[in-house]
């Protein structure tokens, strides 16, 4: 009982922090920015958070800057559906499946209910996700206190492997990105012995590659260059949006889809390597399977909008759980928030809740408030946001590039960093071109130091025997899980290939 009481007390404190004028302003800024980048195709939450990383140096308090960045992340989940429904282009990656039925609904003149249901589903699921975060995170953090280096190594490895296998279509390409990320992360001083690695005489590289520079280059600049190849043009299917409030029939059809989507999103969001994108895909598949008339899917089934849009919001909230309790980010956007915390001098991990309760509970409480703000921003005000789609990408692109340049300059007042970012931008562009997703690379770059420290400490503990990763109960369980997971994926791939050869 005492624990439940602690949670409520923590939450009450959190609301006090979140309701301060500064924090509520930044929560609103986050929600607005999030909705904006969610709506604008070609600019995702990861890129935006990376754009704002330099700002977090200037915002003095860790709570405030994380409140804003969290708002951007889950706010983008709200905004993304709008573009999917009205333009048939996903506003951001987690709304890809919303295009299928959302756009069909819009073509049939039902854009209003589609937008309304997406926003309401997002709100319900987002709130369920935060409730989960509130009650799951504290006991999980307590459990994680038992983790030693071997457990951390196994868990990090599991997270990295799951991120690749779940995320992209090619396992080999994903793994290559992870290795490259780990190698990039090893540049600079070795965390244990202090030896200098891979600097090739550049003293600027001794401190290692700066995360902000890497992230802005790969995500900000790289994405812009890639988008320059094609002409992004947003053509609205309809200007008239009416009947935002769904009818009773829509409600009856959607209530379980929203509940199922929330649960799916929450469970996948907690997984290391899981996230909003995957959960929306899974939810769509589930909705199609349980539906009484699956033929409707693809022709404007409202459950095909409600389910995935709920799932991606629940997942966005849930993916804060591994970050705030274990110190292990599960996807690229969360990795950026991880970096922002480090910039502020806060190391996320099992001690965060007890040692920095203000940060944890402040951020959690702000997420309840943020979801309400977003519901208001996205339901009655959706017409306003649609105007944003009229701003052509041709104007947006150079502005984003400038933001990156000035932002990266401001971190150390160095023009050298602009050049480094440009190089990563070109690399990021080429990666995208050859089908290598930069997400796993960023994740691996962040997790690299944790992985290396834990494997070397564990091997010191066991006097060089790798058996330590298997004999300790928690670590062993994680390792078995990892192997089962890999076996399952390999099995599935082989089967897929056989089927293809037959066909």
């Amino acid at each position: 009982m005492g624990e439940i009481f602690d949670i409520f007390q923590g939450l009450a404190n959190g609301f006090q922090i979140a309701f301060s004028l500064t924090n509520i302003t930044f929560a609103l800024i986050g929600a607005i920015l999030g909705t904006m980048v969610g709506i604008l195709p070609g600019l995702g939450p990861s890129a935006t958070i990376s754009l704002l990383l330099p700002l977090s140096f200037k915002i003095g308090s860790p709570v405030t800057s994380i409140i804003m960045m969290a708002g951007i992340f889950y706010g983008a989940m709200y905004g993304g559906s709008t573009t999917s429904i009205l333009v048939n282009i996903p506003g951001e990656a987690a709304s890809v499946v919303t295009c299928i039925d959302g756009y069909q609904m819009a073509l049939k003149g039902r854009a209003g209910p589609a937008l309304g249901m997406a926003a309401i589903g997002s709100f319900v699921a987002g709130t369920i996700g935060v409730l989960g975060l509130t009650f799951v995170a504290p006991p999980l953090a307590e459990f994680a206190l038992k983790f030693g280096p071997p457990e951390y190594f196994s868990l990090t490895l599991l997270g990295l492997v799951m991120a690749t296998l779940l995320g992209g279509d090619s396992i080999i390409k994903g793994l290559i990105m992870i290795i490259l990320g780990l190698l990039l992360g090893s540049i600079g001083l070795d965390p244990i012995s202090g030896a200098i690695r891979f600097t090739w005489g550049f003293h600027m590289l001794q401190e290692g590659i700066d995360f902000v520079t890497l992230a802005m280059g790969m995500f900000g600049i790289g994405e812009i260059f890639y988008n320059l190849e094609k002409v992004l043009k947003a053509e609205l299917v309809t200007r008239k949006i009416s009947h935002l409030w769904p009818s009773l029939k829509d409600w009856m059809e959607c209530r379980w889809a929203i509940v199922r989507g929330s649960l799916i999103g929450f469970l996948i969001g907690i997984l290391p390597g899981g996230g909003a994108v995957i959960s929306s895909l899974v939810s769509y598949a589930v909705e199609k399977r349980v539906s009484k008339n699956p033929d409707e899917f693809g022709k404007g089934a409202i459950q095909g909008v409600a389910g995935p849009e709920s799932a991606n919001n629940a997942a966005a909230s849930a993916s804060f759980i591994p970050l705030l309790t274990l110190g292990i980010p599960g996807n690229a956007a969360i990795a950026m928030i991880f970096a922002a915390l480090l910039i502020q001098g806060v190391t996320p991990g099992p001690f965060l809740i007890t040692e920095k309760p203000d940060v944890f509970w402040g951020v959690v409480a702000s997420m309840y408030i943020g979801n309400i703000m977003l519901l208001i921003l996205n339901l009655p005000m959706v017409g306003l946001w649609v105007q944003l789609l009229r701003v052509p990408y041709s104007i947006l692109a150079p502005v984003i590039v400038l933001f990156c340049c000035v932002g990266v300059f401001s971190v150390r007042n160095s023009v050298f960093d602009i050049w480094v970012m440009g190089v990563f931008g070109v690399i990021g562009y080429i990666f995208r071109k050859v089908g290598l997703e930069p997400g796993p690379l960023i994740l691996a770059f962040v997790l690299g130091p944790i992985l290396e420290r834990s494997i070397r400490q564990a091997l010191l503990m066991s006097a060089g025997s790798p058996a330590i990763f298997f004999t300790r109960p928690i670590s062993g369980t994680l390792m078995i899980g990892l192997m089962l997971f890999i076996a399952f994926q390999v099995f599935r791939n082989v089967r897929k290939q056989r089927q293809r050869e037959k066909a």
Binding site: L182, I395, A397, L402
Partner: protein
């Protein structure tokens, strides 16, 4: 860079293992692509290489000029160049956006965040 051993892993320990895995993965990727056979689609179909290249050039120019002539003129020139070369926008719109964005960026970073933006020859 000392490798160390399993008993006493040194700074070169993880990079060495990673490099080995990377070699294996790269070979696997090459093999799988080779088996698939070379596709006939060119890397940059049509003239799709042009706009990213212009973007890269504009970016490099920005990084080069900002040290020489300072933030304000460089930003303005960059915006005009980008919108004129890469996109075809009406001149009036280019002028309005370029001036507006330059001023807003200066206000955000130079004024509110007090970043010492390069002044170049004008400082």
């Amino acid at each position: 860079m000392a490798m160390g051993s399993l008993k006493r892993p040194g700074p070169g320990f993880l990079p060495f293992i990673l490099a080995c895995i990377l070699i294996v993965l790269s070979l696997a990727l090459i093999a799988s692509q080779w088996k698939k056979g070379s596709g006939k689609t060119p890397f940059w179909p049509g003239r799709t290489w042009l706009r990213p290249l212009l973007g890269t050039v504009a970016f490099a120019l920005y990084a080069f000029l900002i040290d020489l002539i300072g933030f304000l003129p460089t930003t303005f020139i960059f915006l005009v160049l980008w919108m004129w070369l890469i996109e075809s926008i009406a001149w009036r719109q280019i002028a309005a956006v370029s001036i507006g964005v330059t001023v807003v960026l200066y206000l955000i970073f130079g004024y509110f965040l007090e970043v010492p933006l390069p002044g170049g020859v004008f400082s």
